[in-house]
Symmetry: D3
Subunit: 318 residues, 6 copies
């Protein structure tokens, strides 16, 4: 494994092929438990099951490219991530554009391999429809999970154009399949115009916090609320980049104006301490709509904060 | 009238020709009172009378395209707009590029037709110079109006390059013609460097709240202030997209940095209850300068919130 | 039907909702034989079954927008299209993103409706995978067709990622299903690096002319060659926008450098006289990658030349 | 006058405020005959009287910025322009956006000042509607001119939206006012779809060469044809940037696909020897639609070739 | 000196060559004390010594272009800048791309000329590596300075790729050379992932306020803190445009997400009263990554607020 | 070494970290003769020594990303490259931005390592200033070389801003150092305005063919001319992407309009048979100015054609 992590000695410009955070490249299919890897960042280059803008298939590429600028030290957590965690770039899962069911199987297989070696999968989408595959793999290894969803949309529609699996239906499916437990889950950041059925009472049992409510609460209180909600259960953390306002993340498929800032989102991640995190996804970065790569750079910062959170949790319990 | 509003059954991608919010298309010239239309969204594709960037002539097209993503349910107002209001796309008014006076006549005629059938005109510009035509039509039907202006600039210069009608002079002209009453009007969001004469006392009698003052007050207090100011008078609401910071609305003609966020602007609209609203304009969206259509999507959200406000007012008084 | 075709009197800016060429909007589902429509331009907003860049789902929207600039008179054919032909905008066919098989059924149904009323369907994609549905509908009404394909790629792979229906496999499938006859078909414009199997002899029997060969032949000789090849058979004409160099059509999914110019492509279309044309498709315009809409404008010119060819043929035989 | 022309000693990056070709800045209002200036490049920042895309008002700025890359030596003409000619940047003429008639007066006054000091005006637009003002000034000093027009459109419509002065009507007006003589004029590069009236015989008497015809003739023969046509008359040369294909000039208002290349256009200019050239305009560069400033750089090359032609003519007759 | 400051009478579009704020152009090499100039805005077109994105070499050009939109009146300071101060555009300093040491000498020479005539230099970069040259010149005339740095990064690395002078090492070098006094200096706005050595205690003695801390403090308290820190010492104010979030300033070399808004930055500048300001730099605006010029417009507003601060200080002490 | 070359089985989207052509990644420092590698594609991420636009530092990244679309079969050469040649991605050489002399040493060291293992280096820049380092390494192993340069500019200036090593001086330096022999070298594609000294007779002895001359000759004759010129000498082939017109390669530092098409350039490469090729460079791709990555895709095609030429030469002599 070539190691690019000695970032000071090597110019960012000279990184060669761009891996996530200039980390060693270890395709998930070749990982073994002996590798003692703590976390695997992997790409899921899909955008077929989306109702508006496509382009998220190039999300993994854009995040890899932007991540050459990142370092591993966190001022707030007071740690250096790669001194605490062993993290690798697991490559991209295979996909079959236009064949969503087949693609879901391939994603699930890739994620399963990560759980099998005891590592935390961090999926970089791709659109949000990957979540059902992600959760099937996670639940097989860890049982039903609590969902912590930062997102402008709930993604709990029943169907869409007559089909059941879509980026807007994924968490209803996950509940139906018993992969997540709404009673210990929380959805944060919702806003915008909605179809009529979304005005009815939620029949699934999620806690839902709108974008305006989240900002009014502030990061500290919101983080406390999340901690209370999930308790000691295993956690699936998902960050849809459209959680933030499109001013901060123009490169996304279904932009929803009126959202919080990047600063708010990152501060919230720094306040969270989700010790039992079992699976992570960062979704809906659509590079063709990005400007100056700012959405990709935000994606990098989101992964950085999540890695720092995991590292802090490891340090605290070592 | 073809109806696209059954949005769940029809893919947003398959909307065919893009009307505002996938609403039925009814050219204003063909509207009659029997249509019982409550509001007419219409385009005003002009950008001639602008001192800096042009491009706003494509504002109506961009807003129509972006609006295919919108739905009609409002979480905050707890209503579905098209269950309360009958809204149509009234097409675009005719314009003669380079001939501002002639264009103002054509705009006025188009808006007049909407008032004649008792509907609320919602003009999608186009640059702000359309307002004098908008207000002439409105005042003919409703008498002098109170102006509620969300804008980075006051637009009350006396002349510009030696001419009287321009996007920066429009509200001085409106006062001179008796179309709006400054004593019951309010201008919100002003900021940036100004010509010397703007430092003198306002000779027109408007209440003016700068951008910084607005944010310091907060949406609730600001909405109260607006309500106090306008009282029970008929209202002209105008939203210049440069009210928000160019980070949120890069696609505009005279960007003014240092403004509020989209979230602030939309929250303010949700706090307003302008029962006597008689004419609405959304102006200065300039698509050639937009990125990832975020300005157009903000424009859609602004119209959505205004429609929801009107719908709520109707519901409350039904 | 509102008629925008009196283009001189109405500003292009004031066209209202953008239909193809400002033509009347008649959804294909509502067409009847009594409408006596000669040609129907319809959108197919898909991009799922593509192996590289997506975005073609917005092709129909971009072509509609750009077509407001077009007129109907052809200097070379010496006719005014809408004096000879009755053409309408048929709207967009319904699609289910991520579900290619289901989408193909919906496309076929839409195209079938056009053949049923005796009109020529002109499909505006969307990616090239739509062709199998297009040809199934056409062959049902007209029997096996001769393919005239202007394209940088042959699209005759056997499978791709283990599936059979994809934008790169579509004409092999069409041959297998008996929808087109390779012996009377011709593929023009191929270039670029190819997989190994493409170096073997063609097992399907197509005539294939590379991009360099086409330019060396010149438009007149090439048009003669096409005429000889297709004879009096019914014809399916397909124009993949990547036929031209990406300098002329940057907005496409699989750009192939080294191609001919727009001038060459349009000149070729003007030289063709495909009297028995039965179905037309214009595919792979991907607006997120377009610059200054030049790809969309080229798409408009391609449709214009095809309409002029059909009109000339009608005139000649009237 | 600060002189930037010693280009080798000063970095292009350090040019300070960008003048045309880093030439001295001499506002036209301050020029006197004692300055012995041969040519004045001046900006005309207008785009009001255009029927489709605006943005050309920033043409002068973009051409100034791009021209910092240019040098003064011509390989083909074997001369160094600023050793033969004294050229200055004359600044921009004043304009009143939205008031076309008033703006035409201001342009005419600016151009007149250049003729008065015996220099050649080179107008950098701005849209083509400036030409009527340009020609009024030129004809006052030089009598009726022969027009050499490189352009995708003839610009001889009778009216447009009911008005007479527009970028598409300008040369019909010029003929009516006796400013140009069609019998010694030539229009080159026309193409694209046209309104019905353009299919009729030309009633004005221009020689018109389509884009395809021009390319078929080749530059040398075409240049001979122009020379024959204009003979020894005074000449107005106008270069509409849409003469070339939008692949080469995406930054323009009414892009017309299917045109010649930049190489063809520049080669043609190098073949021309228009000794009696009296006024020059370069129009329709619209920077908001430009990509990587290639249209602006083409504009610079066009002016360079025209200056070189004028310099060669001076050298030959010195 | 041509004076463009009478902005009302002259259209912004007709400004001719773009100087900073349409001010008179006076190359620094030609300035004399008799000119009685108070401040000189000058460009430093460099980007060589940067570790990630280049492009800042075009920063001066972009700021000049955007500044045509600015006026001179400040509502908050209640003054008109050019009634109090005499300001000129000093042109660009010479640079030698690829030769950083030589370039630093040239910059220092240019800045020195401004101090020599008793004026305040306002450097518009270019990347931050210019600061060592700026400070050498300033310290020669004013002795060691207090640094007020608004920036996402501290720029105090020891070396980078084995060299000592780089945009990330500049303030460590300045301390080593005795140009600035850390004990009276303050760094504000830091955030993002950092190399390990940045987690250690600061060995230089700067006060450092992170971005989150700054926002939590608020502008008024922060301004007080700055005032306390610098006391009556001579001040070097530097504004790295990446101080704000990339949503507000996408056009920059090392974007750091999670920063404050433009409104926050400008409000902070309006709260500052740095009477003894002796040198100013605005750096890291990289136009190739800008969108709709919003970063350039922010740069203009930053200079405007700094000029207003200086003018207010002069007024108060006049 | 992970091998991505089985391209049919693996989706292009799922390539994981992007290597050149999905080839195995072997950093040049780790290569040994036992690897029996035939060619090494390596990145040189520099742009400091450029006089106009920067950004070429991201050239290697962009070419890697675009190359995922490429295959290895050549229709014209009738071979599959990776069946004939063993090619790897050698990573990027180290660079020190702003320190050109130091950077040249690092480049030379990297290239030397490739020659040492007997492989052909293919450098992907970065700006053209890399050539002096490239040629020093090549000449050490192969003696003086014949230069085949496809470029819009000769790059033989004597100095620039007072320094000797720059992207515009590189081939004069190479002659002076005896690295290339002008008598057997050829420069093709020159055009545009030039400084005065370029009009004098060439003092170096190169054969120079302008862009217009090259197109007039045609590819076949031109290839013959090159073959005659270089004879049996060792060859350095360099392709500056600005050889083609900026319509085809907008993403470059010093765009020169009026150039040939991509088709011409690729056809020329296919006609060449440079058996003794010893070093290759592809330079001046500047991604920040690219549109839709078309310049990067052209870069990929150029490398493809060169690899095919080398493969054909090997096949012929095996």
């Amino acid at each position: 494994m070539t190691d690019f992590t000695d970032s000071q000695a090597v110019s960012r410009l000279s990184s060669g092929p761009r891996t996530f955070f200039r980390l060693p490249y270890r395709p998930v299919g070749e990982l073994t438990a002996e590798d003692r890897v703590d976390a695997v960042i992997m790409g899921v280059p899909i955008d077929g099951a989306t109702g508006y803008r496509s382009g998220a298939r190039f999300g993994p590429e854009a995040v890899r490219a932007a991540s050459t600028l990142a370092r591993f030290g966190s001022r707030e957590r007071r740690l250096v991530i790669n001194e605490v965690l062993s993290v690798v770039d697991g490559g991209d899962v295979h996909v079959v554009p236009g064949y969503h069911m087949r693609t879901l199987e391939l994603i699930e297989r890739g994620v399963d391999a990560v759980h099998t070696v005891g590592a935390l999968p961090i999926l970089v989408g791709g659109d949000h429809s990957l979540a059902i595959a992600e959760l099937r793999a996670a639940a097989r290894h860890h049982g039903p999970l609590s969902l912590v969803q930062l997102d402008a949309h709930r993604d709990v529609l029943d169907d869409y154009f007559g089909v059941k699996h879509f980026h807007g239906t994924v968490y209803r499916r996950a509940v139906e399949e018993g992969l997540i437990d709404p009673a210990t889950s929380i959805q944060i950041g919702m806003r915008g115009s909605v179809p009529k059925e979304d005005l009815a009472e939620d029949d699934l049992g999620f806690t839902m916090i709108t974008s305006d409510e989240a900002v009014a609460l502030g990061c500290t209180e919101l983080a406390g609320l999340v901690a209370d909600r999930v308790g000691g259960t295993p956690i699936a953390l998902t960050f849809d980049i459209d959680f933030v306002d499109p001013a901060y993340a123009p490169g996304t498929g279904t932009p929803e104006v009126g959202g919080p800032s990047s600063a708010f989102a990152l501060r919230l991640l720094r306040e969270l301490d989700l010790r039992n995190i079992r699976t992570v996804s960062l979704v809906e970065i659509s590079p063709p709509y990005d400007t100056a790569d700012i959405t990709a750079h935000l994606g990098v910062a989101v992964i950085f904060e999540i890695l720092a959170m995991v590292a802090a949790s490891r340090s605290a319990h070592a």
